[in-house]
């Protein structure tokens, strides 16, 4: 739509000045405000921030390296690995739970409060509202993984010695290089959650009950996990939501091993496209009775 001049009437009060043009980004900022202006969101982020602390304190108190494998085994020697270990440990449960809660709430929450009708008569535009919701979900995914990254960084530095990072491929890089790679991992994991967020958004467009949307989204996640654990159907495994979730570790090779990372990003993009389109089809045709 072209920028229009809207006559808001005469008079002397400031509000009756002539407003010009479109201010399409305001809704996006408002969505972020809605997601991050709620205590619930900060509780979820707080829980995520606690993960590295608990892991770090447990390892520190045990006083030994035990026979832990992988990233966990390296934490005591180099606090840097607490970041990576915490991200890896949050991925199977805490991060998906947080994304499920926020995405299930997104449209169903508005429908149950009745605020959806205020937004649509404002008018927000159904397509634009959906886009704003999805962008806010993506930002939340990123905020969630960055929270773990930051909490892991602080706890790792406080509890353990830190130093140069030995990569999976055997070579050694500087701590700064390692931290940037860990940041990259946080971004990749956030991207890995996009598919789930899109599923949540779609389910949320179906109902006016946020809890039902959350439960259904989480069920979809669990079912996907169960299917991934059945070897007899391994032909479908490469197409499951979580198939490429562990690809982030390939960033800790020198040079990084991109194939699986790119494949995972494409898969998440495909999930996003399918479920976003479904949510759009649903929202743009739905009767708003609430």
């Amino acid at each position: 739509m072209s920028a229009e001049v809207m006559e808001v009437g005469g008079g002397s009060s400031p509000s009756t000045a002539v407003a010009r043009g479109r201010h399409g980004t305001a809704l996006f900022w408002s969505e972020l405000h809605l997601v991050f202006g709620r205590a619930r969101t900060w509780v979820l982020l707080g829980v995520l921030a606690v993960v590295p602390v608990i892991v770090g304190v447990a390892i520190r108190l045990s006083g030994s390296e035990g026979d832990a494998q992988g990233f966990l085994g390296q934490v005591a020697g180099n606090g840097f690995f607490l970041i990576v270990a915490s991200l890896a440990l949050s991925l199977p449960f805490f991060l998906p739970t947080a994304v499920t809660v926020i995405s299930g709430e997104s449209l169903a929450g508005e429908a149950s409060l009745g605020t959806l009708r205020n937004l649509l008569t404002a008018p927000a535009g159904r397509s634009r509202l959906l886009a704003a919701k999805m962008v806010a979900l993506a930002v939340f995914c990123l905020a969630a993984t960055l929270t773990v990254w930051l909490a892991g960084l602080i706890a790792g530095f406080v509890l353990f010695p830190v130093g140069d990072v030995v990569l999976l491929s055997g070579s050694t890089v500087s701590l700064a290089d390692g931290l940037v790679r860990a940041l990259g991992i946080a971004v990749l994991i956030a991207a890995s959650l996009i598919g789930l967020a899109a599923i949540g958004l779609f389910v949320s467009s179906l109902t006016s009950t946020p809890l039902a949307a959350m439960a259904a989204t989480f069920s979809a996640f669990i079912v996907s996990g169960i299917l991934g654990a059945i070897p007899q159907i391994d032909v479908i495994h490469p197409w499951l939501l979580m198939y490429g979730w562990t690809s982030f570790a390939d960033l800790l090779r020198d040079p990084p091993y991109w194939d699986e990372i790119v494949r995972n990003l494409l898969m998440q993009g495909a999930y996003l496209a399918v479920f976003y389109a479904a949510a759009w089809a649903r929202l743009t045709s739905r009767d708003i009775n609430g």
């Binding site: 739509m1 229009e4 809207m6 808001v8 009437g9 009060s13 400031p14 509000s15 009756t16 000045a17 407003a19 010009r20 479109r22 201010h23 399409g24 305001a26 809704l27 900022w29 408002s30 405000h33 809605l34 202006g37 709620r38 205590a39 409060l113 009745g114 605020t115 009708r117 205020n118 937004l119 649509l120 008569t121 404002a122 008018p123 927000a124 535009g125 634009r128 509202l129 045709s285 009767d287 708003i288 009775n289």
Partner: protein, 306 residues
């Protein structure tokens, strides 16, 4: 605002709105009446593009809905089926969000306009309070404030005075008059017929999904024929005399006789009764209220029609 053959059949087969042809003239204050469940809110949802009509068309400010909603709705203030807000946010924050949802709203004056809207509905003192802690009437006022955030060409209000105290109801009445004076068309559903008589220029009445009447309030009132009410102990004699003079539709109760005097001169009727030795304890000409017209149009039954 014009609708043609507007119809909504819900899943399950119920026809909540049936072939409604509304015509709301620009500049009018239009009262939209009807018993509970008669289809007012459903009609309003279709006007605003919240639900899709099963059949029929809606034209809002000269443009087709819901096709033109993004260009039309910024010029329309709406309150649909009671207040709906984020309870964990303040009244002010709620107003700002709904205004931000409108891409045509000026962000630079948003706070200022919110302050003015809150003042107009008498909520300035509660602006910083969480909506969770608002009373029903305060929420209703906040919902009206949402519609008042911008200068509008049309206001669509679904029971705006629901839950308001007498002062609030009065304020809303004055507000509607004031807005209409500035050229805003106001379309409001309500159950308060006294309000309609006082402020509305036009009215439409819904009954079981159908539009049973639509006209100016002046016409509605003109059609309400005044009734002659005679209070007397001599019921039979009075009825006989009046009937002889041409008064029709006579009815007797415990101590009154009433009837339709038509165009007969009232003073002559009184004189005739006195001449006939009817003891007059009372002699009045009563103009029925809109309420009676409403009941006549929609039926006496109290049960919600299904």
């Amino acid at each position: 605002m014009v609708t043609r053959g507007l119809t909504k059949r819900f899943r399950g087969g119920q026809v909540a709105v049936n072939q409604v042809d509304l015509e709301v003239p620009a500049g009018s204050i239009f009262g939209f009446l009807g018993p509970n469940g008669s289809g007012k809110t459903t009609t309003i949802r279709m006007l605003l593009g919240l639900i899709a009509p099963t059949a029929g068309t809606v034209e809002l400010l000269g443009q087709p809905m819901p096709k033109a909603q993004l260009s039309v709705l910024p010029r329309v203030g709406a309150l649909v089926e009671g207040p709906a807000f984020y309870p964990f946010w303040t009244g002010l924050a709620n107003l700002l969000r709904f205004d931000a949802a409108d891409a045509m709203a000026d962000p630079w004056t948003r706070k200022l306009r919110a302050g003015e809207a809150l003042e107009r509905v008498g909520l300035s003192n509660a602006a910083g309070k969480k909506v969770r802690a608002y009373s029903l009437g305060m929420r209703q006022r906040l919902a009206i404030a949402v519609a008042l955030m911008q200068r509008r060409e049309l206001l669509v209000l679904d029971e705006p005075t629901n839950g308001l105290d007498p002062q609030g109801t009065r304020e809303v009445r004055l507000l509607i008059r004031e807005l209409a004076g500035d050229g805003t068309t106001v379309f409001t559903s309500t159950h308060l017929l006294a309000e309609v008589e006082q402020v509305c220029t036009h009215a439409a009445v819904m009954s079981q999904g159908r539009l049973v009447r639509q006209s100016t309030v002046a016409d509605l009132r003109a059609e309400l024929r005044p009734r002659l009410i005679v209070r007397t102990p001599d019921l039979g004699l009075a009825a006989q005399t009046l009937s002889g003079l041409g008064v029709t539709d006579l009815k007797q109760s415990a101590d009154t006789v009433d009837g339709d005097p038509g165009e007969l001169p009232i003073d002559k009727l009184a004189a005739a009764l006195v001449t006939a030795d009817v003891r007059l304890h009372g002699f009045t000409l009563e103009r029925p209220s809109l309420e009676e017209a409403f009941v006549a149009l929609t039926g006496e039954g109290f049960d919600v029609a299904e």
